[in-house]
Symmetry: C2
Subunit: 438 residues, 2 copies
Amino acid sequence: MLKEEKFELMDAKGVRNFLPEDKIPRQKIMDMLRETFELFGFSPLETPAIERLDVLTAKFGAGEASDVAKEIFQLTDQGERSLGLRFDLTVPMAKVVGMNPNLNMPFKRYQMQPVWRDGPIKLGRYREFWQCDVDIVGVESMLADAEIISILDYVFTKMDFKFVIKANNRKLLNGIIEYAGYKDYSMKAIISIDKLAKIGRDGVRDELLDLGFDKPEIKKLLDSIDIKGTNSEILDKVSKFVKTEEGKEGIKELRELIEFCESMGVQNLRIDLSLARGLEYYTGPVFEVYLEDSKITSSVAGGGRYDKMIGMYLGGKKNYPATGVSFGIEPIYEAMKLSGKTEPVKTTTEAFIIPIGKNLPDALKLSARLRERGINTETDLMKRGISKNLSYLNSMGIPYAIFVGEREVAEGRFTVRDMKTGEEKKIESDKIPGVIKR
Amino acid sequence: MLKEEKFELMDAKGVRNFLPEDKIPRQKIMDMLRETFELFGFSPLETPAIERLDVLTAKFGAGEASDVAKEIFQLTDQGERSLGLRFDLTVPMAKVVGMNPNLNMPFKRYQMQPVWRDGPIKLGRYREFWQCDVDIVGVESMLADAEIISILDYVFTKMDFKFVIKANNRKLLNGIIEYAGYKDYSMKAIISIDKLAKIGRDGVRDELLDLGFDKPEIKKLLDSIDIKGTNSEILDKVSKFVKTEEGKEGIKELRELIEFCESMGVQNLRIDLSLARGLEYYTGPVFEVYLEDSKITSSVAGGGRYDKMIGMYLGGKKNYPATGVSFGIEPIYEAMKLSGKTEPVKTTTEAFIIPIGKNLPDALKLSARLRERGINTETDLMKRGISKNLSYLNSMGIPYAIFVGEREVAEGRFTVRDMKTGEEKKIESDKIPGVIKR
């Protein structure tokens, strides 16, 4: 028989349960994202939570990225194989590309799944959280990056946010750093520039000083990445002093990107030369989305081009140009809640049927009829009285109550109560859906 | 910099990647289930993959169920806490109910998430697989069980399967076992009866003999659970010899269940006294769905009432009557594939735009216009020639190609090619959505 044991009923640290009031609006956001990705011709991919540990860690060398490797939840199976939980969606996608050499290119995939990181818990940081990635593999042209940016523009416009899509280019950034005289420190400088918003100009200056940069060069660098103006003004200014081949290539890519984005109708793209992004693997355009007039000051989406990562991950046998973006499901959801664009919803039920007296069978039949007409319908299962049922409807936020009593059944018209106004009307069953879906 | 490492690119054992051709139809099935559950007034719940190990194992005593406990993937976090991956969706739901004492009752929830079991790998058995549960907590009335059965009827009818919903009642089964003279062995007899389809009447007889049952009693038992007839004929026959209070209660519950199901319009409910289900925790009605005319002979959904489990799991402080069903996403998907109800789809893209010559900006504009009209649209990103693009469309199964050349732009009419028939027509851009969505 079942055994009772003493234990504390609690969650693991850093994980969450999403009750209906959170799950319903989150699901709505994810549905909207899915719909958009498919509108742009992307297909869904699902990969397992559990991967071989060597596959998860293969990508990492020294440096920043290996912090993530330290945060992998490790486990073993019956066969004592070393396994881990995925910590992002990029590594699993690279694995799928590598294991399926006959995939049609371009491979345009989206993926929305939880990931796990055994990191410190802070406000808004969890050990299990959702990621949502959209990537294009196999396309060298800036058309792919423009399409990704076009998706960003579409999504945040559709969500009715005021926002800006900041874009830069790693090649150009390298060109600027070389212009400032620090070619060999370019990755370190990029990681430092990435902290500009967080630690400010003085903070970055101090970091660069520590790295061995000189004051005049630091000024040159910080002034360069601070250039303001329209997108083409910025590129015109920077092309006056960026003279390396790589830097010029970066400028050319950004000009192409802007042109394609314009054709695609993108409204909110702004070149920002101080945008760096912390990850090593970017090779071309990088971009991030920031909301305006929102308390969420971190980026809500970010990505860029990483032409070398997949190929290197697959042993360098083949070249896989790739670009993509990751949507921050968690900050997007927070921003939606803060701006009142989404409200907690406990149920999607539209009509709740309350049988009066012995009219349960008729109530059940009416429920089935309303469902056939696409109305989310519940029937009282608890045999509660009218007032208890009505307070249940209020607490759940169900908009309509329908009473099924003897007289209603005889007349073929049912009393429909609008829970917001308290107004009651007798309506023929066939006309109820029209009233509710109104 | 990134480091290259030697490793084998492969998956963990028993897990799968779902490429678009599998993910798209699976997603479609899950969407349809979600829609149905909400039609019946159920709300979504999401729980974390990682739970405290003591929470996962608290439910289990001796016996069958503890095999599942052995299959839990265990892990620890930074704080050396013992954790595990969820192996089903019932335990997490019970945890949520226990941790949220103010939940409105009835709590009608659905949950669709992967679960993990470190078991042996067989055909169709995986270490990571999806479960899909629908449960009603807080309702004692058979109305709740009838609603669950009504959902089963709705789902499999909508999927256009021929099927039967078999139902029985554990109380009645106990009554029959007692009538056969083996009251004290009722759980063991039930576990044996559960294997009837697998090991046959002789197999069950041998097992019961081994348990110490006598031949005449075994015959009495096996003859009783083999009673055939209409639902009410079966119940009439069995009520002639089942005399215990519990057994009579079981008959009464089944009669109520049948009556409610009739009011709800359920067509495919058949009482089957040999239906047992292997899990210990059932306390009343049990049910399973089997497909007819399908190679999938295992049940595609199954469940029942478990009035004591949640309360016991929560330390027995409060009573939580509950009933529900688990849909077998994997066998349902297999059955759909086998019956040709679903076909592999590599993309949901409806239109693919091929720019001719220098008309890329116009192609991009047309793409944006079609997306605004709800058409899933791709543009050639690879700058491939027409024939290469057309063979890409064929291999991806994209139904329409649209050519954007100089003449088309001048005329404001674009050549739309139906990829199935090869037919080409010149159509004004505003009329293209109508042709594609036709």
